[in-house]
Subunit: 450 residues, 2 copies
């Protein structure tokens, strides 16, 4: 692939704004910047005036007036639920029975899985997301279809066969067995892990749906493949938590179940983690495990509020997930709208001891959460998350005036005018999201949308 | 104006779904329907096969395949905050000082007010809203600009001069006086009330910002003009509530302040009403007063959750407000997304005694809230809110496949296929809103958008 120089206003995170004395220190802002891309990677980035002369052979793609940020990283969703997104009226456990399992059962068919996977990746790109960790279903076809499409599209993609075998928690036709889960996972893992940008994520759905025997198999897979990821759900809904404690009476709490089977370690990414005790947060931090924060889902299903100030306090890395279909959007920006609201609701309505400043999700913090923070959550910050030389050329071109209201709100300012303007406009795009704010998406240096 | 027949799938509410044994009974669904419009009013509506032959001279506008619903009614917002919509990081009282008053001060200028009013009504129409009750500022120019633009556009519009005179609650330059508020309101009321579709709404901003003397003047206006509306804010934020009780130590609660000055009656529309006691709900119901539920604002500012199940229990009518700029959207559909989440959060996370079924905001209930329910909240159901003969021809043409995800989610079904499909698709448009779902908006029979 020939060398390309993508010009525009660059904004990325170089560190965690929650850790900075002034959160702006976490940002790198280059009003007239350029990303030099070759072979799918970022060769160099910086001010146009300095960089362009060094690469005279590069073909310039001019996005002046637009804001360029790293591709969004989605750490938790269910691609197989794309068609049932935004289904009415149920909280978690009823949701699964009413909408999820009937739809996911269709993924016995490779054709159906192929169709949904193709639609799904197109939607991701339309929304500026270039890395995604997704659940599949209990059917190997669902994983194969997902990874095949990811390879075709060049996306960085994590996925794994769903494990759910406990009687009564899913339709019989949907449930698998401990051995089936182990064998199926193993086969898919050997076939796809580290192939192109595919990474395998061992995926027992949640302790609610897996028996002792299945979680043992998950633990065995985790032990045999320490470089693989583990994705599951944790403490999402009060009724779910109560059931898990009944199913595993020897465990002190929900996290204790996953600990018992050796799953809680680096690259363990637990969706939701809403009802964690201080002790559970502490143990997550000590184990270097991560949380997938899914605000749209947590509000849509009414699940509750992730306490990221406490996660930060205990050194628990966390990233952002749209959690479609429980989340009612596939857009990272739109998800940040709900993330902001989850923070503000805790500032005002929660009686617990909290860090109010931490809970105000500014543009810097939001950008971090959707990019470098999520990359770190996935232990992938060496490859993605910002514009460091050598990282994958995954980025999004944002039109900060993508709607007439956004344009009016900008009040004549351009994103290149100042860091404050860029941040104000980024915040606007997340709180007043419209599809048109995504002007183009580049994945591995290739223009995949726009 | 000549006679027009607008054809498509008609869906409107004929009663309150919360009061029906089966909520579908509240809906009128005509798969292939037509609205016959003349002189800005609905002459007749029904099945195309029956109606079209009766009006052979009518010019047919064909929106087959689209869903036609009544124009949305927004009962609470601040048009003067259009430019500062989605501003970062403050709860109510700080929000006002940091963003609101500096912006609203600009409305001393008639030119500035004209510019914003023109933008505002365009945005309303883009979003399918045809009736709006808005606050203005303390400057008469803000009200004049609003009503003048409403008249030009033909929108049904309620507005009034803002009253805020308490020292320390707003910048001195922004505050008015009791007499200034009375005189200014009186003059504007006489000039605009009942002119075209303009209606005057007496608007003391809130008991937090008005002195005893100013609220007395508001009461006098209310008494002298029983056919006028009264809009204000009530029990939005814990800090606000606490201050109000300090300012009015002789009142038993927040509502008691407005009662003291004779404001709580029919056509009294109180924004938010989040922290009402059971007794306050009861008194609101007894007085036939209304609540403006503003979910996007209540989540964006972190204010809390309106308990509509209790409002219903006590017979308190309530409608939907986007409450821009505290709400981060101008779209009624997008506002319903947050309304749904406010309901679900209460189902799962609230310990109070509640009616879970009532709190699940189905498509029928959501449509009612944004149309007939809001019309009733404003005591305007004789004029707007559904397709009854003789009502204003305010309606919206909805493209239920307005995005690729919505189209995928429809799974081949058309809104005309069944009431269930129409409802599923309406729910989809509110939870996965994109601007493109609004295909066209008609206000007083005139196509004002699309």
């Amino acid at each position: 692939m020939s060398k390309v120089a993508v010009r525009g206003t660059l904004l990325d995170c170089i560190s965690n704004p929650w850790d900075c004395a002034q959160e702006k220190q976490a940002l790198r802002f280059i009003p007239d910047g350029v990303l030099v891309v070759e072979d799918g990677k970022i060769v160099e980035s910086g001010a146009s005036s300095e960089i362009l002369v060094k690469h005279p052979e590069a073909q310039v793609e001019d996005f002046s007036g637009y804001l360029i940020v790293p591709g969004f990283v989605d750490v938790h969703l269910h691609y197989a639920q794309t068609r049932i997104i935004g289904s009415f009226g149920r909280q978690l456990l009823e949701w699964l029975q009413t909408y999820t399992f009937p739809e996911e059962l269709k993924f016995t068919s490779k054709d159906y899985a192929d169709e949904v996977a193709a639609v799904f990746f197109q939607e991701m790109f339309k929304n500026g997301t270039t890395t995604v960790q997704s659940f599949a279903t209990t059917h190997p076809n669902s994983v194969v279809a997902f990874f095949e499409e990811a390879r075709r599209q060049g996306a960085l993609a994590l996925c794994g066969l769903t494990g759910i075998d406990r009687e009564g928690t899913a339709p019989d036709a949907y449930r698998d067995t401990p051995q089936g889960f182990y064998d199926g996972s193993k086969e898919l893992l050997e076939r796809f892990h580290q192939v192109d940008r595919c990474l395998y994520s061992i995926a027992p759905r949640f302790a609610f749906g897996s028996t002792h025997e299945q979680l043992k198999m998950a633990g065995r897979l985790a032990e045999e493949h320490p470089d693989c990821w583990i994705q599951t759900h944790l403490s999402e809904n009060p009724a779910e938590v109560a059931s898990v404690l009944e199913f595993f009476p020897d465990c002190q709490d929900y996290l204790g179940v996953y600990e018992k089977y050796g799953l809680v370690r680096k690259r363990f990414v637990a969706g939701h983690s809403i009802y964690l005790s201080e002790d559970e947060f502490r143990r997550m931090g000590d184990a270097d495990a991560s949380v997938a924060f899914c605000p749209a889902s947590n509000l849509f299903l009414g699940s509750g509020f992730f306490q990221w100030d406490r996660a930060n306090h205990f050194g628990v890395r966390w990233g952002l997930g749209c959690d479609s279909g429980g989340g009612n959007t596939l857009s990272a920006l739109r998800t940040l709208d709900d993330a902001y609201k989850v923070g503000m609701l805790q500032v005002v309505t929660s009686d617990r001891e909290k860090d109010e400043e931490s809970l105000r999700l500014s543009a810097s913090k939001a950008l971090y959460a959707a990019t470098l923070g999520s990359a770190r959550c996935l232990d992938l910050e060496q490859e993605i998350g910002n514009f460091e030389k050598g990282k994958w050329a995954d980025f999004v071109i944002l039109d900060t005036g993508g709607s007439s209201v956004l344009e009016f709100r900008k009040n004549g300012a351009r994103p290149s005018d100042s860091l404050e303007d860029a941040c104000h406009q980024f915040f606007g795009m997340m709180m007043l999201w419209v599809p048109e704010v995504i002007r183009a998406t580049f994945c591995k240096g290739r223009r995949v949308f726009g």
